[in-house]
């Protein structure tokens, strides 16, 4: 091992690998939760009942335009403190991971909901009328007629947003996570702290991020263009 390549020596390599795994875990869990949340919120926004619709609209309006860094600071510093004052009990340290996941999911969920709504509005209203005439229930219309087509129409935007969610996992840098649970950027900062240089850890994780976003971008674009092809085929 050369002295110039310390990032690829232990323990730093192990930290980086751990960071990569945490990044993948955080982005997949929060992305999946955000997709489900986005679907649910979209469903609520399109109902005729006022209460749920208003709640869903408010949720989207609030979380679409909140920057993640101050939001994470608020949720991981101010909320636990408030909790301590009210209940007299401290948050356990691992709770920060769940708070992080919740914030990322809420942020991406609101954006997914906004994208999906555009998709739902793009599905021809006659489709719903036909489905109703054929005797489908409201739920069946939603899940078998409207949402699948809506998702296909906005597939490219959904793909972009999924990758954005993965990139947002770096915002964990401002969350006081335990060392073992740090994601890539956190581990890079830890290595920089030990070795007094950002150059190597930063370059290493930048390369990993490029591979991750280009790689998942390639897969998602393929999915999106197939979905779009099906939309075109359906319209023809």
């Amino acid at each position: 091992m050369h002295f110039g390549n310390y990032v690829f020596a232990e323990p730093y390599l192990g930290w980086l690998v751990r960071g990569i795994l945490m990044t993948l875990l955080i982005s997949v869990v929060s992305g999946t939760a955000a997709a489900l949340l986005g679907l649910w919120v979209t469903r609520l926004r399109l109902t005729s009942r006022r209460g749920p619709r208003l709640a869903a609209d408010t949720f989207v309006m609030i979380f679409r335009n909140l920057p993640l860094v101050p939001l994470l600071l608020f949720v991981t510093f101010a909320l636990p403190r408030l909790w301590l004052q009210v209940t007299g009990r401290a948050f356990p340290i691992w709770a920060d991971l769940y708070l992080l996941l919740a914030v990322l999911s809420a942020d991406s969920g609101a954006n997914f909901a906004e994208i999906l709504r555009a998709g739902v509005l793009g599905v021809a209203p006659q489709q719903q009328e036909v489905a109703r005439t054929m005797g489908l229930s409201a739920g069946a219309i939603r899940w078998h007629v409207v949402f699948p087509q809506a998702a296909r129409i906005v597939a490219p935007a959904l793909a972009t947003r999924w990758i954005q969610n993965m990139k947002n996992s770096t915002m964990a840098l401002v969350v006081p996570l335990p060392l073992g649970l740090l994601e890539m950027a956190g581990q890079a900062e830890r290595i920089a702290g030990e070795t007094f240089s950002w150059v190597q850890p930063l370059t290493a994780i930048a390369v990993v991020y490029l591979l991750l976003s280009l790689g998942s971008g390639w897969f998602l674009n393929r999915w999106a263009s197939r979905a779009q092809a099906r939309v075109q085929a359906g319209a023809a």
Binding site: P70, T160, L173
Partner: protein, 261 residues
């Protein structure tokens, strides 16, 4: 005069006063004394302006005339290299999380070149790069919507390729780009909060300092920070939505299925 503004908010708007010993005489004092929301807005503006210029340059590199027909192989190769470099910059910046881009721009230049640049310049550079990618993408999709008969008419009139690009295509594209530019401004405004990680005294950093200096105002300070981001961002998003609607109506575009981030 502004006594009705609570002290917390006043500090968030203008930042903590900078001690004279921290001020670098070789660099504009005005920028160094600015902090809080003012600095956030200034960085957003600087990023937007430099990003606009860089975005247009990237677009020009990407569709440079050297790769066109009737050029000799040497020129073709150079043209391909320039185009490849522009694509690499766009894909590279787009593939990186913004925090990583900020960290790279703030930590790499010094160890590599020995050049120590002021924080404001680095921040403007990072967000200029970030914005350039949005601008390039928006301008490229705008170019596709330009009626091909207009450049053709220019060619008939004897304009050169550069004149067609600068005088016909770009002005038409700029008009269709307006909603995207507003959205880019909102994105820069929100994402400039990542500068707190590298201790630039903008809004988020000021809130964090406040939080660390006085635990009693944790919640209030951070809540005020969130509102100061949320309210302008929401207002400008609404403006962008209206501009988008006007564009869709005016140009008779099909509803675009790409959402703006």
């Amino acid at each position: 005069m502004s006594g009705w503004i609570p002290p917390i908010v006043r500090t968030l708007l203008a930042g903590y006063p900078v001690p004279p010993s921290m001020i670098d005489p070789s660099y504009p004092q005005l920028i160094q004394r600015i902090g809080g929301l003012e600095l956030t807005l200034l960085i957003t503006l600087a990023g937007l302006l430099s990003g606009f210029a860089l975005g247009v340059i990237l677009l020009a590199c990407r569709r440079n005339p050297l790769t066109g027909p009737g050029r000799d192989p040497g020129e073709q190769l150079l043209g391909q290299a320039v185009r490849g470099a522009a694509i690499a910059v766009v894909e590279g910046v787009r593939g990186l999380p913004i925090i990583l881009l900020v960290l790279l721009v703030f930590t790499l230049p010094y160890p590599i070149t020995g050049l120590q640049l002021p924080n404001f310049v680095l921040a403007a550079a990072a967000f200029g790069l970030y914005a350039a990618v949005f601008v390039e993408e928006s301008a490229r999709s705008g170019l596709r919507s330009v009626d091909p008969q207009l450049p053709a008419a220019g060619r008939v009139l004897g304009l050169t390729g550069r004149q067609i690009f600068l005088r016909i295509e770009l002005p038409l594209v700029f008009r269709t780009m307006r909603p995207d530019l507003i959205n880019t401004a909102v994105t820069l405004f929100k994402d400039s909060s990542t500068l707190a990680v590298v201790a630039v005294p903008e809004l988020t950093y000021t809130g964090r300092q406040m939080m660390l200096s006085d635990p009693a105002i944790y919640g209030a300070a951070l809540l005020a920070v969130l509102i100061l981001y949320w309210a302008p961002a929401t207002a400008f998003s609404a403006v962008a939505v209206r501009a988008e609607r006007r564009r869709t109506r005016a140009e008779g575009f099909a509803v675009r299925n790409t959402m703006i981030e």
